[in-house]
């Protein structure tokens, strides 16, 4: 049962990663990146690493995404600019 949850999460990771690559709108891409980080946090909870899940949720999904958003707001929003 848990194993299938793991597999679903890992496949979802791949999907979000491809989503980050394919999205032309950088704002959307960084939101998807945030989702990727959250999924990673859950994967780590599944691998019995609560410390990492906590850090990834705060740093990967929180701080890094905010830094990406600031940069996008100060520079360009479309990928080809």
């Amino acid at each position: 049962m848990l194993r299938s949850l793991d597999v679903i999460l890992l496949v979802f990771l791949l999907v979000t990663a491809v989503g980050v690559v394919r999205t032309k709108d950088l704002l959307g891409a960084s939101i998807i990146f945030s989702a990727y980080s959250f999924t990673m946090a859950i994967v780590w909870q599944q691998l019995s690493a609560p410390d990492l899940a906590l850090t990834e949720a705060a740093v990967g999904a929180g701080v890094t995404t905010v830094l990406f958003l600031i940069t996008i707001s100060r520079t360009v929003r479309r990928e080809d600019e």
Binding site: D51, A58, R74
Partner: protein, 244 residues
């Protein structure tokens, strides 16, 4: 053409990498070299030797303390690098990008943040101080601390935060992480032990454990406060724009 070549090369690399990882012993088996070599000692004596019920915290602070010193240094380096590239914010000259834009701030956001912010900060300190017993520790708490500063800045404006977290103290907080390791390490060297030893034989036997806890808590708080301050400063330096 060029893109096709890149995709093809990466595909070959992918096959190579996948081959190198599937020949590894099955994941999750207790007989793997990663799970049999060093770990038994940590599981047996880690709590007693490391001084924390959470083995991860024990390893971070005690067995591999030098790595963690490098880690807090990396945050400090990142902060210094951002300052070197973009410069420090100045309340008189700068304001935030969010304030320049014409988007009205919602009352709901303000109310919610006003209500939640104290609890987030409290939670951050709980995570920092309770890291030895439960999941958490210095850096996790520091990241939450930094995140709380970020949401407060985004809701209540740049000037308030830059003034409240005045540079006079923030400069001290930013260096708290490496400095706390420096102090803990030098205490050990002056006691005749190796750098970053927490169990000091020069202290009377009954107090040894107490001194160790004191040092560990000091280092935890240093990492937390240092990380939080550095994240806030990075954020403020990146968010600032010149006033008209």
């Amino acid at each position: 053409m060029k893109k096709g070549l890149v995709v093809f090369a990466l595909f070959l690399l992918w096959i190579l990498l996948v081959y190198t990882v599937i020949v590894l012993p099955p994941m999750g088996s207790p007989e793997n070299p990663t799970n049999t070599h060093i770990i038994p000692r940590y599981l047996e004596k880690g709590v007693e030797e490391g001084g924390a019920h959470n083995l991860v915290t024990g390893i971070i602070l005690n067995y591999r303390g030098f790595d963690t010193m490098g880690e807090v240094t990396v945050i400090f380096v990142a902060l210094t690098c951002v300052l070197a590239v973009l410069g420090r914010e100045n309340i008189l000259r700068h304001t935030s990008k969010a304030e320049v834009s014409s988007v009205e701030k919602s009352v709901i956001v303000k109310c919610v943040v006003r209500f939640l912010a104290p609890f987030i900060i409290l939670f951050a300190f709980y995570i920092i101080l309770h890291g030895a017993e439960s999941p958490g520790g210095g850096f996790q708490g520091g990241a939450i601390l930094g995140a709380s500063v970020i949401i407060i800045t985004l809701t209540f404006g740049f000037a308030l935060v830059a003034k409240k977290l005045s540079l006079k103290y923030r400069v001290l907080f930013e260096s708290a992480g490496p400095l706390s390791f420096f102090i803990a390490g030098m205490v050990a060297i002056f006691c005749g032990q190796n750098f970053l030893t927490y169990l000091l034989p020069c202290v009377a036997h009954t107090y040894q454990d107490f001194v160790r806890h004191l040092l560990l808590i000091m280092v935890e708080i240093g990492i937390g406060v240092g990380g939080g301050a550095a994240i806030s400063s990075i954020f403020l330096a990146m968010e600032k724009v010149e006033k008209e």
